[in-house]
């Protein structure tokens, strides 16, 4: 919660440097921003957490980004103070420690890390910290679900808390998987896919390429060549679904031609590791696309997809975005990827999902959840198939 201290005005700042500013009163905390960020995080959105400089007593320019956390711990002396915050917390813990230990720790911290001297630190303690503890902090005990006396030494209490959190996570991931399974059920097998799912035209060349790529006896050299060739076609087809606007040009013959041009820059997001197989195709078509990366993996224990790594270009929310992943099986990873992009401000209709093999069930799920998403598919599979393209392409 230290991140949410209010920036001080010049007068307050001078007080702070004289150790006369009261940091231990709830009025020093920017609860409005805190509540807003907590709400964003609880809804699964990205949140920018302010960074507070204790040397300058100001909020600094840069922020810390928090996104997609499984467990969020809000720590601070006023964590259980504001009723709006209390409403958002799933578990409220009050950790109590002997007052002597508090003072000792505080002195060590303020002198070592916050650039204060011993007199200043003691002055703060007696003027603000202790009286405020009695006035504001202690009463928060009645808001807590659990009280932990003796802090870190209390291993039994800590163990109980950890077990409770593990149980909560497990039931959340069970629910997630059930929701995923429920999506895409109850469809008529013959019901056509919506028009925004575009399957490459089934031509003799394409069928011959499918055959080479599916043949276990194909050498890796051939596999890579034909996969790159097919990836190029997929990205070319995907480009047809980007945003265009009219553009008039004059030819060397001096005559005007009424043509088109892209109306937005193109970014791409590669879903690792498999998505890397489509990058050669991407570069042949859009060599200067800005490329972001997501690492999504299924948890081996629960089967739930998890986001492990994320690095996205800052321009993403303004661009047309191609998402690359060569295989869609259950669609869980794809659903997560599109959700992540939407959480980062990309409109659904600006996303084109490019894939080689997609299962019918996976596609139904994707289109049900994201009806405006465009999907380019090389070939539709009747059944779920485990990922194998990246193994063949990368040879590992």
């Amino acid at each position: 919660m230290d991140s949410f201290y209010k920036s001080l005005n010049p007068e307050q700042s001078a007080q702070a440097f004289r150790n006369e500013y009261d940091f231990d009163s709830p009025s020093s905390i920017d609860f409005d921003i805190l509540v807003e960020r907590l709400r964003d995080l609880k809804q699964g959105r990205k949140a920018e957490i302010p960074v507070y400089s204790f040397e300058k007593h100001q909020r600094v320019e840069k922020t810390t980004t928090i996104y997609s956390c499984h467990v969020l711990i809000l720590e601070g002396i006023f964590a259980l103070y504001d009723p709006r915050v209390l409403e958002l917390l799933d578990m409220k813990i009050f950790v109590d420690t002997d007052v002597d230990v508090c003072l000792a720790r505080r002195l060590a911290r303020d002198i070592k890390y916050r650039g204060r001297d011993i007199h200043g630190a003691i002055k703060q303690w007696s003027t603000f910290v202790k009286p405020n503890f009695e006035l504001y902090v202690e009463p928060q005990k009645k808001n807590a679900d659990i009280m932990v006396p003796r802090g870190i030494e209390n291993s039994i209490a800590i163990d109980m808390i950890v077990k409770h959190i593990q149980r909560a996570l497990l039931s959340k991931s069970d629910e997630h998987i059930k929701t995923l399974q429920a999506l895409g059920q109850g469809y008529d097998a013959d019901e056509p896919l919506p028009a925004n799912v575009k399957v490459l035209k089934d031509t003799p060349q394409l069928r011959a390429m499918h055959t080479i790529l599916h043949d276990e006896e194909t050498t890796r050299e051939d596999f890579v060549f034909y996969f790159d060739r097919l990836a190029t076609l997929l990205v070319e087809r995907g480009s047809d679904h980007l945003a265009f606007k009219p553009k008039e040009v004059v030819t060397p013959q001096g005559i005007t031609y009424a043509g088109l041009e892209l109306s937005k820059d193109v970014s791409a997001v590669v879903i690792l590791r498999s998505g890397g197989t489509l990058e050669v195709g991407l570069r042949r078509v859009v060599p200067d696309a800005r490329i972001g990366r997501l690492l999504i993996q299924s948890n081996a224990r629960t089967g739930e997809p998890e986001l492990h790594y994320l690095n996205l270009p800052s321009s993403l929310s303004k661009d047309s975005v191609l998402v690359l992943d060569p295989q869609v099986a259950t669609g869980a990873g794809a659903l997560m990827a599109v959700t992540v992009l939407k959480d980062h401000g990309v409109e659904e209709e600006r996303i084109v999902f490019v894939t080689y093999l997609a299962s019918l069930g996976g596609l139904r799920r994707l289109t049900k959840v994201f009806p405006k998403l465009k999907i380019i598919v090389g070939k539709i599979q009747e059944e779920f198939e485990r990922r194998w393209i990246d193994e063949r392409y990368f040879g590992s």
Partner: protein, 243 residues
Amino acid sequence: MSTVPEAPAAPIGPKYKEEEEKPQATVSKPIKHSNVHILPQTPQLIALLTMIRDKSTVRGDFIFYSNRIIRLLVEEGLNHLPVISSSVTTPIGHTYSGVQFEGKICGVSIMRAGEAMEQGLRDCCRSVRIGKILIQRDEETSKPRLFYDKLPEDIAQRYCLLLDPMFATGGSATMAVEVLISRGVPEERILFLNLIASPEGIRSFAERFPKLRIVTAFVDQGLDEKNYIIPGLGDFGDRFYCI
């Protein structure tokens, strides 16, 4: 400036979009002959053509964007080649009943502009054999004349992808086809790949060689008094190799 024949315009975009959401652009003239295949007029193709038509496009971009169209032409052209059934086992143990390529192919480029299309062909067929034909206008008779050719020896057994980016009156293309036929290549095994064609040229070519197949990206408005395609893109060879 001479009068420019009318150009067809249409809203361009995928089917799921409302007509009024699609941007308007000039599209290829339709050609009725069944042996002429015009690439689907997608927004992306029109945008690529817009880039290479623009006289202010620099050479690096011209090469890049024309290569992309050429690759699409080659992919479409290859679809006209025969395949035979073939069943394979997949890495995860399933049987996949597919097809495999049948018959040998070769590329034949009409120098010099046609050679610019060789890279696109090689992007799709790695080790394809390539022959060359040099045809130039005879200054005395002002008719095309064959100056040079070098073709694979077994060309009569191969499907020929004949490469020439601009098709105006079709004088050199016609002569090139005649050369191939004289080497024993059956007309039905010749595929002519072309970026921009004139409507009058392509119609008479398609009628003259009814069994030959033509794949083009765009049929333009017409020819000017100097027999240049308009609006066209200027001299393809110059823009690709020199300017």
